[in-house]
């Protein structure tokens, strides 16, 4: 894999040489571990040998938690999804990083956390006021659509004739259904003047078990509800939530027939292979869409805010921030300082190179990533890259967090299961969300209601500091 060109925008120095220590790095297998390959020459210069342990995407939490519980000391640098920062930090599995970050000289040790966008700094990195992790991937959802179709004169005219309004990227989730239905065509029909050689679909979703709940939350969060009230009473089965899930269910009519098997890869490919008109996806997909090696729609994509709901005369948008990635130092590590430097080197020193290339799935997460559009060389022009970064900034402004407290895996799995049952027609949206509320209560009771309430209050404080709620 070709390493991106070193940009030297971020100034950094090597630490005093470690005595040839080995640092074990664990993370989800695939393109997000590529930075360790890109910068493999840097580590020996710091007296560090890197050993990578790849884990399947779905197995990161279980693998890391199992090793932590067993106290095996198998990992020095752990890469994980920040929904688990509460679990890992509160159980003492992670090393607090504040003292390491203060070490001198700054050019070696300071990861410039003040430059990290507040939602990522406050939610991804901190627990109980201390910094335990550094962001490497700032995930959020973004609307990605085929601008060639939305600007096509024939399609615009047809849409106006049918619905009596202009064809525009969807502003609301009602628009999403309408535009999705409009663009759904059979093989042999015309699309933008071309006869279709295969079926074409208006939209697609992540409807597979695992993260389908995030595409529900995209639709629900605009209502202003939080997952729980102050006493951990679930708010997930409100009328607004039922309406949101109904919209998700209805959207499958405009999606490929196997959409219930779509995860990240399938959803990305449906767009990049030219099978759908619009998707909501993570912010790394436009970079891949601009890369001719991966995309058949180069130059045909544009981006926007995740659709919202019209509330009180204006449209409120919220974009789920699922997954994301952080790196942290295991408290059981025998080489904590070396492990910290490796984590900081990836999270800060080389981060602009890592987030701007299409060879990783890592996304922008700090100010410096936004101020250098010239680094995003996969885009046709600097202006196109700047436009992409502007849309990402907007999406992050709409950001809505995951649950983040210990037990997140259980709460989110219960939500995902019932959202998925509604998508599969096994339950109505109301039945599904009532079942989620019931299961969430049972989970809270099992984990200890008072402790969960305290943790939830702590999470609410972080949401407030990050500006995600008032």
């Amino acid at each position: 894999m070709q390493a991106p060109r070193e940009l030297h925008v971020i100034k950094w120095d090597f630490p005093p040489k470690f005595g040839n220590v080995t640092v074990n790095v664990v993370g989800d297998a695939g393109h997000n571990l590529a930075p360790y390959e890109f910068w493999k020459d840097h580590f020996p210069k710091a007296g560090i040998t890197i050993k990578i342990i790849e884990v399947p995407f779905e197995g990161v939490y279980e693998k890391e938690k199992t090793e932590f519980v067993a106290g095996s000391g198998a990992f020095d640098v752990v890469t994980f999804y920040p929904a688990y920062v509460g679990d890992f930090a509160s159980n003492g599995y992670l090393e607090p990083l504040d003292e390491y970050m203060k070490k001198q000289p700054d050019s070696v040790w300071n990861p410039r956390q003040e430059d990290v966008l507040p939602p990522f700094r406050e939610l991804y990195n901190k627990w109980a006021g201390k910094t335990y992790a550094l962001t490497i991937d700032g995930d959020a959802h973004l609307l990605i659509y085929r601008k060639d179709l939305f600007t096509n004169a024939a399609e615009k005219a047809a849409f106006k004739a049918k619905y009596g309004k202009e064809l525009m990227p969807p502003e609301t989730w009602e628009d999403w259904l309408q535009i999705g239905a409009f663009f759904t065509r059979k093989k042999g029909e015309k699309l933008a003047g071309q006869t279709l050689e295969r079926d074409f679909y208006g939209s697609a979703e992540f409807a597979k078990r695992g993260f389908s709940f995030a595409w529900f939350v995209d639709r629900w969060a605009a209502s202003g509800d939080l997952y729980f009230d102050e006493n951990m009473k679930p708010q997930i089965n409100s009328p607004a939530a039922v309406k949101a899930l109904q919209n998700f269910v209805d959207s499958l009519k405009n999606a490929p027939p196997d959409v219930r098997g779509y995860g990240y890869d399938e959803l990305r490919d449906a767009l990049l292979k030219g099978s759908v008109a619009m998707v909501v996806q993570w912010t790394d997909v436009p970079k891949k869409g601009a890369n001719p090696a991966e995309s058949q729609v180069v130059g045909k994509l544009d981006y926007g805010r995740v659709p919202g709901w019209r509330i009180g005369g204006k449209v409120v948008h919220r974009a789920m921030m699922p997954v994301g990635r952080v790196v942290a130092v295991a408290s059981s590590s025998k080489n904590k300082l070396a492990a910290y430097w490796v984590a900081k080197h990836i999270a800060y020193d080389m981060s602009l190179e890592d987030v701007s290339t299409a060879f990783t799935g890592l996304d922008v997460n700090r100010g410096v990533h936004f101020s250098h559009p010239e680094a995003y060389v996969d885009f046709k022009s600097k202006a196109e890259a700047a436009a992409y970064l502007d849309r990402v900034k907007e999406a992050l402004g709409d950001g809505y967090p995951e649950i983040f407290i210990p037990g997140a895996a259980q709460y989110e799995d219960a939500l995902d299961l019932h959202v998925n049952k509604a998508l599969a027609g096994q339950e109505t949206p109301k039945q599904a969300l009532d079942a989620v509320a019931q299961e969430w209560n049972a989970i809270t009771d099992r984990l200890g209601r008072q402790k969960q309430i305290d943790l939830w209050h702590q999470a609410l404080m972080s949401y407030k500091v990050a500006g995600l709620i008032k």
């Binding site: 199992t66 210990p406 259980q410 998925n420 998508l423 599969a424």
Partner: protein, 314 residues
């Protein structure tokens, strides 16, 4: 100097030493095996049994708490997901293993007729059994793919485009069937092997006697071969039944239990409780329920097999 020869060398030792020698030697010889057994079998079993009456949520950091039989009560009376997983596993065990047995018997009867080619064909047939289930799951995920999978391509070609782009793993009506088909594909050769071994053990004179008595092919099969094959078929079915209770890899690869939870098996659900939610007490209770079910079913099978054998002996 006194030299002992012959019987004198084997002269009786003092009684106390003899008694101790007799006690210690066999004990010392068996001890390593006992220690290993205790460490790898008995200790985990007892430890897990103890966990079944504890609440131990590793996400919270709270110490384990004694909760009596609450974990079992939760499984039986409060957890519809448990019953759904048991039902899916039951369908796979009854229908899936039933299909494996029927197809396996058919193939075994055909192979039994083959001459020199039998070993070669049998070797080919056994390839799926040799593949790791996780790989089989991955293969079939490709095969079932709605857009690029060979299954839909062939169906499209053979039906002139009328059967096109079917979502085998995403349609809740057929997803469990797709999982079952993969399992049947992989394990039917095992049943073939078992039945073929049984067929080869049938004394030729019995078949000749049936032929002399004028029995037709189907009559010989029903009245002579099947009764003689029954004990081995019962063992084969029992092994497959126990394996089906552990069906995890294929589900993990193909559907992750979805869409909804229509393909969630009890093994997959137990994995989620144990390694995603880290609810160790509840996971142990689920594991023990499965152990109890398998033990009861195995007893039924083995008693049946004993009865069949006893009937054959008389």
């Amino acid at each position: 100097m006194e030299t002992k020869v012959g019987r004198d060398v084997l002269a009786p030792q003092p009684a106390r030493l003899v008694a101790r020698g007799f006690r210690l030697t066999p004990v010392l010889m068996v001890l390593p095996a006992v220690v290993v057994l205790l460490a790898i079998t008995v200790f985990p079993l007892v430890f897990t049994l103890r966990l079944t009456v504890m609440s131990w949520e590793l996400t919270t950091g709270f110490p384990p708490q004694f909760v009596r039989l609450q974990n079992f009560a939760r499984a039986f009376f409060q957890d519809p997901r448990f019953w759904n997983a048991m039902m899916n596993t039951g369908i796979l065990a009854v229908v899936g293993v039933g299909l494996q047995t029927l197809i396996g018997m058919g193939l075994a009867l055909e192979l039994h007729q083959l001459g020199r080619l039998r070993t070669f064909v049998l070797s080919l047939l056994l390839i799926p059994v040799m593949i790791a289930p996780v790989i089989a799951g991955f293969q079939f995920r490709m095969i079932y793919n709605d857009q690029f999978g060979p299954l839909n391509y062939l169906l499209d070609r053979f039906t002139g485009g009328r059967f096109h782009g079917y979502a085998w793993l995403a349609d809740p009506r057929v997803a469990l069937g797709a999982v079952m088909f993969t399992d049947v594909w992989q394990w039917t050769p095992f049943m073939t092997l078992v039945v073929l071994a049984g067929l080869q053990a049938i004394p030729a004179e019995l078949l000749e006697a049936a032929e002399v008595d004028g029995a037709t092919g189907p009559q010989t099969l029903r009245r002579v071969m099947l009764p003689l094959l029954l004990p081995v078929i019962v063992i084969g079915v029992l092994v497959r039944f126990m394996d089906t209770f552990k069906l995890f890899d294929i589900v993990y690869q193909l559907t992750a239990g979805g869409p909804g939870n229509v393909t969630e098996t009890i093994a997959y659900y137990t994995y989620l409780e144990g390694f995603k939610f880290f609810s160790l007490g509840y996971t142990s209770a689920l594991a023990f329920i499965q152990l109890a079910v398998i033990t009861v079913v195995a007893q039924v099978f083995l008693r049946y097999q004993k009865r069949v054998r006893a009937g054959m002996a008389t």
